[in-house]
């Protein structure tokens, strides 16, 4: 196990950033810490790095208890959101920094140092940029310098704080594919923070979803999307329809329609939210016990899929959204005012919040 976190707590004055977090990150894994702003994801990352000190709990890196160690002794590579490059040093010196500050006994000699730095420069594809200063680089290039600077110390784990946050959409997509390939090449255990669910789904092996300083769910993209542990997870990872239903005797009732309770649900009875992804809300011609009627209010072709907004005539649900691929579409073009029957193909239920 590369990173073992037990019951980690952190308060800032009256604000509790983390309430007892437990987390295991495997060797060579690329893990995303995902959550809305203020959920504690950056605090967790900074605690792993040793840039903050924990109020309680423990952190082990590769079996070594580092809870009491400062960042300097943890051997952790940290990439900052705004790069934090040394502006008075050129690219070469920025990257060489981690080697130059080593104690004399372990500091490589100049030729060896040059060789190492140049190897990392090639790794991050910045050949020919060694003499440039940070101000002369684009955002994506600066990010790669920051990454190279962290990699040269051959870190136990690599931590990245919103690594693509400050880049424009095009560069961000390129860079995150590149980071994924780089990770597959180096296999260094990596954790990155993001608030962008697409980024987490696109890059990470597993995702830790945080909310209000607690872990909501840990899993891979499919587990989180298809088997959310809470309605928060369901809502955070993509669009979801929440329908107010009631649950009794393993049966979910919504108006005159009924569905069996999915296996593994935690609620047993009472008021629940029936959560259905737009692409899991299928269309049927005829009314049935497991479908409900809805009136089309808007229908759009979004290139590859059809997106329909419907009014289900349920109290507290102004509209639901359904998405159908070309093959799932009704045979005729839908118009506003058409009534169709909707059948949830896959769904989850959670106790109604508040």
């Amino acid at each position: 196990m590369s990173i073992e976190i037990r019951n980690l707590r952190k308060r800032f004055g009256g604000f509790t950033a983390l309430h007892g977090v437990d987390l295991d990150i495997h060797d060579g894994e690329l893990m995303a810490l995902l959550g809305p702003s203020g959920c504690g994801k950056t605090t967790l990352l900074r605690l792993i790095a040793g840039l903050e000190s924990a109020d309680a709990g423990s952190i082990h890196l590769h079996g070594r208890d580092v809870t009491a160690l400062g960042a300097r002794h943890r051997g952790v590579g940290f990439v900052f959101q705004h790069y934090a490059l040394f502006r008075h040093m050129n690219v070469f010196e920025n990257i060489a920094f981690g080697l130059r500050v080593r104690p004399r006994a372990t500091r490589p000699r100049e030729p060896e140092l040059r060789q190492k730095v140049e190897r990392v420069i090639d790794l991050v594809q910045l050949g020919g940029m060694a003499q440039r200063f940070p101000d002369q680089l684009s955002g994506g290039q600066r990010q790669r310098v920051a990454l190279a600077r962290a990699l040269i110390i051959e870190p136990n784990v690599l931590l990245l704080d919103e690594p693509f946050g400050a880049l424009d959409a095009q560069v961000r997509r390129q860079l995150r594919r590149w980071l994924r390939r780089l990770h597959d090449e180096l296999h260094v255990t990596s954790v990155f923070v993001t608030h962008d669910q697409d980024e987490a789904l696109d890059v990470a092996d597993r995702i830790v979803l945080l909310n209000h300083g607690r872990i909501e769910q840990i899993g891979n993209a499919q587990q989180l999307q298809d088997r959310p542990a809470s309605s928060f997870v369901g809502r955070f990872l993509g669009e979801i329809n929440q329908l107010p239903a009631s649950l009794a005797e393993e049966r979910i009732s919504l108006g005159d329609s009924h569905w069996p309770l999915p296996a593994g649900s935690e609620v047993k009875s009472g008021a629940v939210d029936l959560c259905v992804r737009p692409y899991d809300l299928h269309w049927t011609e005829r009314a049935g016990p497991s479908s409900f009627p809805a009136t089309v209010t808007d229908a759009r072709w979004l290139g590859g899929r059809y997106r329909v907004e419907l009014d289900p005539a349920l109290a507290g649900v102004p509209y639901v959204t359904a998405e159908w691929s070309r093959t799932q579409m009704p045979p005729r073009e839908l118009q506003a005012g058409d009534v169709v029957h909707l059948q949830p193909a896959r769904y989850a239920v959670f106790a109604r919040a508040g």
Partner: protein
């Protein structure tokens, strides 16, 4: 003529988003002339009445040379002392929240606001043989008042705010993340300071040094009380100039003034070039 002038200005013009290079350069030169250059030209004019031989004789008299050595020497030493002290003060004020920080912040400007004579009297009372501090130092054989060391003390006092106030905003703006990055890369706090923080602060620190030095060279009020003003030992050039004015030796006074002026200008130019070079290296 006009065409040439326009031509040469447009050659210098930095094409940027700010309009009005011509008028603003014109105003700058006008005010600089009215307020700085013309008065200084008067000194040159007055000094030139002497003739070269008399001028050299005036400024190279042992008393004049000693006073110049004391003025520039003490100002340089005081500015050098102010660099680390001012940096430390600015560091503490901008980095650590502590009770009474605002008070300390306000106190730092006091030497600028205080009439320099008041500062001189206060320092003399403190360091004189029978003063609060002086009475303890005298038995140890340390005499500060009425020696060049006293001059340095006075100049440290008046020059300190200049270093603090130039360094402080830079320290506040410095990205804390750069220091964290250095720490996570294994740098000790000292390495982080020397390799990361100091290069960022250096240009401002040097500007502070230049300002403190300039203030020290020109300082009069606080120094004359504590210096004792013994010719050849603790007499500063500004005082010598006043003495000569009182003896109606206007030409001699302006000759000394001219030397001070050129010396200060040369040193400031040197420091500013160094500062510009450092700043350029810092953020290319």
């Amino acid at each position: 003529m006009t065409a040439t002038a326009t031509n040469s200005i447009s050659r210098w013009r930095v094409s940027g988003s700010l309009p009005g290079f011509g008028p603003s350069l014109g105003y700058t030169l006008l005010y600089l002339s009215l307020i700085v250059l013309i008065p200084l030209a008067m000194i040159l004019l007055r000094a030139s009445e002497l003739g070269l031989d008399a001028f050299i004789a005036k400024v190279s008299s042992p008393r004049a040379l000693a006073s110049l050595r004391i003025s520039f020497g003490c100002a340089l030493i005081a500015a050098a002392i102010n660099m680390p002290i001012g940096l430390l003060l600015a560091w503490v004020i901008s980095r650590y929240p502590f009770p009474g920080r605002r008070l300390v912040d306000a106190l730092i400007d006091l030497p600028i606001a205080l009439p320099t004579a008041v500062a001189g009297i206060a320092l003399t009372a403190l360091y004189a043989r029978n003063g609060w501090l002086g009475q303890w130092l005298a038995p140890l054989g340390i005499e500060l008042a009425f020696t060049p060391a006293g001059i340095v003390i006075a100049l440290v006092f008046v020059g300190l705010p200049f270093v603090v106030r130039t360094v402080q905003p830079v320290l506040q703006d410095i990205e804390h993340e750069q220091e964290e990055a250095a720490e996570s890369l294994g740098a000790t706090p000292l390495q982080t300071f020397v390799r990361v923080s100091l290069p960022t602060i250096a240009p401002a620190l040097l500007t502070g040094f230049a300002l403190a030095f300039a203030r020290g060279v020109g300082e009069y009020g606080s120094v004359i009380f504590i210096a004792g003003n013994m010719p050849m030992i603790s007499e500063i050039t500004p005082l010598l100039i006043v003495t000569q004015l009182e003896q109606y030796d206007y030409a001699g006074a302006t000759a000394l003034a001219l030397v001070m002026l050129l010396g200060s200008f040369a040193l400031l130019l040197l420091i500013n070039s160094l500062q510009a070079w450092l700043a350029h290296r810092g953020r290319r």
